[in-house]
Assembly symmetry: C2
Homo-oligomer: 407 residues x 2
């Protein structure tokens, strides 16, 4: 389908990353560069919900200039996000019809949706729908997920910054904890329900001489017996121990370890996640233990992002606009690593139908033979992604940010 | 007691802050400026434990120069810390005798101990002991605590940076959470077992349009009934709600709320702190709730510190050396705020005996009338303390730091 000059629409979907708004900046600023081909660009409030409800915001190159610039350091989803997953048209046509109505009303001929697996699925469904409805609109996905689990792309915008925050926070935590001659067993729980990309990134703290002793990921079955043996041996030898666990680690039957701790023998719900559960087992054995969660700050710490990641996120937004102008449709912007030695990326369009609802797992070769730490291959893969620091703007000690929801 | 030219000794004690090593930098670099009066300066490994065991490290102006410079951004306690509290000499003279032996062996005539309440108590005891033993040594305390609960000083080095991290992390968390049209009840648990200084600092996120809705501190009795009523009302009105609770909030009989959730009716220990406990009550009532802990990163986030705090921490170390050279003894360096309007500090020496083992609580006037948020007075007090950002040095995306324990 060839692009018909009209308005573009940009929307955000799924869990925010600390650089999703950098992609918004890229898309919007690129759109402004082509006034001959693009009449204007809208942002949707709360993703497809805003499209269904005709809650869009037309962006203004001049009036919005300073807020747009702040997008590069704004946490959360500055336009609002949603977890709404579109069903197939045959199951529930109403949202599709409303979306079409909104698109027609505002002459939208190019749509960019910024999200992860589920959002790419929505993107793909909309692309098919517009073709069937014979409505001329190019649909392009902009990847975004701290989980780094989208297939067809070397990595996802958002991962590098989350990895950088995790590695630096872990380094600081460890240096704090080893301040005492006699330490504890520390268990740091990291996000990642299905994949271990984020937990693995804690290994990068080794660059600051503060590597975790052990790392456990969902891709490799977790044995509580083996874990206890491994962590106790390290604690006895060193006087302190540091394990990193993905929230989604599971046993060899695929059952989440966290769920095993969630209800006690009397059916009372237990509080806390898998880190707290493992810590409680060790504490019952008399070990001084501390469970630490890095919480939502992992994906929202705009005060410590990767310059590489931010620049790539901006570029992904820009490339989406260029892809639309190049008459691409039903594709996602994907990153291809040009070479392993000298890190550089190429940007390609990849069919959404081959991406949607698939998961990219941490390759087995990225973990050590024993499966309780990363391999050199992982470090080589991840290191370039956390490189470089952004200059962040503060007023009175507080990070400044843009808000395109309320304003 | 007049200062006798000899060697100085610097030690760290208690929980680290993200700027305790900045005070080490201040003390050591100031000592190097007076080669006529100071023969050299040692760092004690693991505080008084290192002194008792004669585990000191003589610092070298040239060889240690680059590591010393990195102290200003090094998390943890770079020389090692301890929780060892000295008993009175009459109860247990052995540690005192060993300390005296070490001091005599290395001709130490000036001792600086960098810590909080308990450490100032140790400092005071040692000062008295040296006088009684007729050993000529000046003892000066350098304040340090994220808890901000030392009396006689306007505030403590370490508090400003912890407050800055908390306020910015809270702002990012809140902006992430309000990305969805329909939100949750978020309960953010902040350190502070006895005082609410840290929890109150989350209010500074208001500077980034992300203030907490409610703040609860240990100084004001906490009623679960009132809390539930207050948070539910906000949630119903706004679609999301953000409460900040000190870990040490307690009921009107002084019992920790956290302890009320720590054992269930069958005596099974429950995991998690007070935030998780309150969240579980709301979850049982059908509310979508999330408990968030900022964990040890609050006191170790060297990647996000207050420039004001770092500079004051350096100055506190410098002032300790100057105090020794001015023949002060048995004193702590205290901050006096010169004026409220134009923030500036004066540095004074304050008798340790009037500080040790006392606690400075958050004044009632720093909280709102209802007691569930801060007042304008608190904001005016705290704002200058988080001002300014430090330029932090990274290599390959990881924060660099100095290590005077292993190296």
């Amino acid at each position: 389908m060839s692009y018909q000059p009209g308005y573009l629409l940009y929307g955000q979907s799924g869990g925010p990353t600390s650089v999703i708004n950098a992609s918004a900046f890229g898309a919007i600023s690129e759109a402004f560069k082509h006034p001959d081909l693009i009449k204007g660009i809208y942002g949707a409030h709360y993703g497809i919900d805003g499209i269904i409800n005709d809650d869009l915001r037309l962006l203004d190159k001049e009036k919005d200039a300073s807020a747009l610039e702040l997008l590069k350091q704004t946490p959360g989803a500055a336009f609002g996000s949603t977890r709404h997953k579109l069903k197939e048209y045959s199951e529930d046509p109403i949202p599709y019809e409303k979306i079409l109505e909104t698109f027609k009303k505002h002459s939208i001929t190019g749509f960019m949706y910024n999200g992860g697996n589920d959002s790419m699925d929505t993107c793909e469904k909309l692309s098919r729908f517009f073709l069937q409805a014979d409505y001329p609109c190019s649909v392009i996905g902009i990847p975004k997920t701290i989980d780094n689990d989208l297939v067809a792309t070397d990595h996802c915008p958002g991962y590098g910054s989350a990895a950088k925050y995790i590695a630096n926070a872990f380094a600081c935590l460890k240096k704090d904890a080893v301040s005492y001659a006699k330490g504890r067993i520390n268990i740091v729980e990291i996000m990642g329900r299905d994949t271990g990309w984020l937990a693995a990134s804690a290994s990068l703290a080794g660059l600051s001489d503060a590597a975790p002793d052990l790392i456990y990921v969902p891709e490799i079955p977790f044995s509580i017996t083996d874990f206890l043996e491994e962590i106790k041996a390290i604690y006895e030898a060193k006087g302190s121990a540091f394990a990193v666990v993905s929230e989604g680690i599971r046993d060899n039957e695929g059952k989440f370890i966290a769920d095993q701790g969630s209800v006690d023998a009397f059916g009372h719900p237990q509080l806390g996640g898998v880190g707290a559960y493992l810590a409680s087992i060790l504490a019952q054995g008399g070990y001084k233990t501390r469970a630490i969660e890095l919480s939502l700050v992992q994906r929202s710490a705009s005060f410590l992002t990767s310059k590489t990641d931010t620049e790539e996120a901006v570029r992904a937004g820009e490339e989406a606009v260029r892809a639309i102008l190049n008459h691409e449709n039903g594709k996602m912007i994907a990153f291809v690593r040009a070479s392993q030695e000298n890190y550089s990326l190429q940007y390609k369009c990849f069919p959404l139908k081959d991406i949607a609802a698939k998961v990219k797992y941490l390759p087995r070769s990225f973990m050590s033979e024993k499966g309780n730490n990363v391999s050199a291959d992982f470090l080589q893969y991840a290191l370039p992604l956390i490189e470089g620091e952004n200059s962040v703007s503060y007023v009175s000690g507080l990070i400044q940010s843009a808000d395109f929801i309320k304003s």
